[in-house]
């Protein structure tokens, strides 16, 4: 018996370690590539030890003007997230608490919007923004991102509000607080973890979003679109520079993932409709 558990434990450790190695090898590869000069990148067998350089990052800002994409990405991701939070949280609360007519249908519609295949809206969006002369602007991108964000936030927050006890709100209402003030002063503070989770997730999704930004913009490109465009620049692929841009594009999400790991776990569960703590 004793030996069998030891054996099982060994297998479990080996399994988990190999999963971690497989998961992190590409990440390691990305980071080292961004610090390598071209000859080191192209060499086979790979150079595991090399002289690191910041040259790739410097090139991005001195010769490529990546600042623009960084600024666009930040503005678009932040404003889409903030607008969706302001609109989505009260809506989720109302849906979770009050007897709204045809509630099931509304919920279904919201879930559908959240999971909509992007192709099915991209063509109309393209022509609608074009006819409004808003194509290739940050405004249109933010508006388009509301399609993904608003339902996401409503969806996650609805689960959170449902899981909160009603008694406190009821007590506040009995004491004469209005619906808004009981919502703002009692419910909202209790729902802070949910708000954190949903806003971080929607920021990450906005920041990573590729398809809409790729189709709808040509000059106001976001970071992921810039990164992707390296594949097609000139005759030789600029691997190192591309990796450096990739590292930059991954940093915000990475920071959030590390700092707010609990929130991200709850958020991902919330997306799939799991309303647990």
């Amino acid at each position: 018996m004793e030996r069998r558990t030891v054996l099982k434990k060994t297998f479990a450790y080996l399994f988990v370690i190999s999963v971690l190695v497989l998961l992190y090898f590409p990440v390691y590869w990305l980071i080292t590539m961004s610090l390598k000069v071209r000859i080191d990148i192209m060499s086979i067998p790979p150079r595991w030890f090399f002289q690191p350089t910041w040259g790739n990052f410097a090139w991005l800002f001195h010769h490529y003007n990546l600042q623009n994409a960084v600024v666009t990405s930040i503005i678009v991701a932040l404003s889409a997230t903030l607008i969706s939070l302001a609109l989505g949280i009260p809506c989720a609360f109302a849906l979770a608490r009050f007897a709204i007519p045809r509630k099931k249908d509304v919920e279904f519609w919201i879930a559908t919007t959240r999971m909509l295949p992007p192709v099915s809206v991209i063509i109309p969006f393209y022509f609608i923004w074009m006819s409004l002369r808003l194509l290739d602007t940050r405004t249109s991108l933010v508006m388009t991102y509301l399609v993904i964000n608003l339902p996401l936030i409503i969806w996650i927050m609805m689960g959170f509000f449902r899981a909160l006890p009603r008694e406190l709100e009821e007590a506040a209402r009995v004491d004469g607080a209005s619906r808004w003030s009981s919502f703002l002063k009692i419910t909202l503070p209790l729902a802070l973890p949910g708000i954190g989770a949903s806003s971080i997730l929607s920021f990450i999704f906005n920041w990573n979003e590729f398809f809409f930004a790729f189709v709808l913009t040509t000059t106001n490109r976001t970071l992921p679109v810039e990164v992707a465009s390296f594949m097609a620049v000139g005759l030789e692929v600029k691997y190192g520079e591309m990796a450096a841009a990739g590292v930059l594009a991954s940093i915000p999400s990475l920071i959030f993932a590390i700092l707010a790991r609990k929130l991200i776990v709850t958020g991902f569960r919330g997306i799939a409709g799991f309303t647990m703590k």
Binding site: A12, I123, V147, S253
Partner: protein
């Protein structure tokens, strides 16, 4: 009648909805209507017309459902549907098996190691574009590290992204790499919410590991598994970036998914926006069916639990 019931029925506290509630509720819904319904109706309008933006002189003729009929006689279109089915099927099956295995291992041996789960889910937050590019470079037949690492194991050099089957395999592999953690997260949540008694009872009765898993864990987990799988299916249906970055639908059209096909048809190559709109409507119908299933199962599961 308890306070809660009156609250829910809206009898005493909320007889009818006051303006306050509407004010919470409507702004978001109005915006949502504005950003979803016009595109939706516009897509339907496009799909029943024959519009080619590269040939504006042809006008906008109403052709009814002809576009949909064309889809079913177009090899490339049908191919893109099959490719999508193979891809998302492959992705979700592998992700489920690996995710379940990982969840069981973590639940029985690493219960207290919350950092481990964090470490495993971090790759999920990386931009898919970046992931696609890293893998594309690693899979490169000449400068790629994957072929180099496979050499000692006996794998001959493979041109991963230039052979139809290998290209398909690579796309599935990259998606599995990024989204298995999601399955793990869902299944782990399920495992942790299971009641303890059946497990203790069966242990007392002397059941082995496999029997416990087969006859207790799996049946108890089944609802959450269904929810997780349907959810991943819906999400996998939207995989544009990884395919686009890795293969652009190639070699030829052998990894062309519906998204890529509609994008080429409507926007980048052909300008046949009507045709692309009809294709995307079919994707939409499939998604709606999946979502209906998802909501039904997840509601069932929640009602069972609480």
């Amino acid at each position: 009648m308890t306070v809660r019931q009156t609250y829910m029925d809206g009898k005493r506290f909320f007889s009818g909805l006051s303006e306050n509630v509407w004010l919470m509720f409507l702004p978001a819904l109005i915006i949502l209507v504005l950003v979803t319904l016009p595109p939706f109706f516009y897509t339907i309008y496009l799909s029943v017309h024959d519009i080619d933006i590269t040939k504006p002189y042809l006008g906008r003729n109403f052709i009814g459902l002809k576009n949909f009929a064309t889809i079913f006689s177009d090899h490339r279109a049908i191919g893109s549907f099959t490719n999508t089915a193979i891809l998302i099927g492959g992705m979700v099956v592998v992700e489920f098996v690996l995710g379940l295995l990982l969840a069981l291992v973590i639940d029985s041996f690493f219960k207290k190691a919350t950092w481990l789960v964090t470490l495993i889910i971090i790759p999920m937050t990386f931009p898919r574009v970046v992931i696609g590019l890293v893998w594309r470079i690693m899979l490169n037949p000449i400068v790629g590290v994957v072929n180099y690492l496979l050499q000692p194991v006996g794998g001959g050099p493979v041109d991963w992204l230039a052979r139809p089957t290998w290209a398909m395999f690579s796309i599935i592999m990259v998606d599995v790499w990024q989204w298995t953690p999601f399955m793990l997260l869902m299944i782990l949540a399920g495992l942790q919410s299971l009641p303890k008694e059946p497990f203790d009872a069966s242990r007392v009765d002397g059941a082995g590991d496999f029997h416990v898993f087969r006859f207790i864990t799996l049946p108890l987990l089944q609802p959450i598994i269904v929810v997780a799988i349907v959810f991943r299916l819906i999400d996998a249906l939207r995989t544009f970036d990884i395919v686009y970055i890795l293969t652009r639908g190639g070699p030829g059209t052998s990894t062309e998914t519906v998204d890529i096909f509609a994008y080429y048809m409507g926007i980048s190559e052909a300008g046949r926006i009507s045709y692309a709109a009809s294709v995307s409507l079919i994707v939409l119908y499939v998604t709606i069916i999946l979502i209906t299933l998802f909501l039904r199962f997840s509601r069932q599961w929640r009602e069972e639990l609480y």
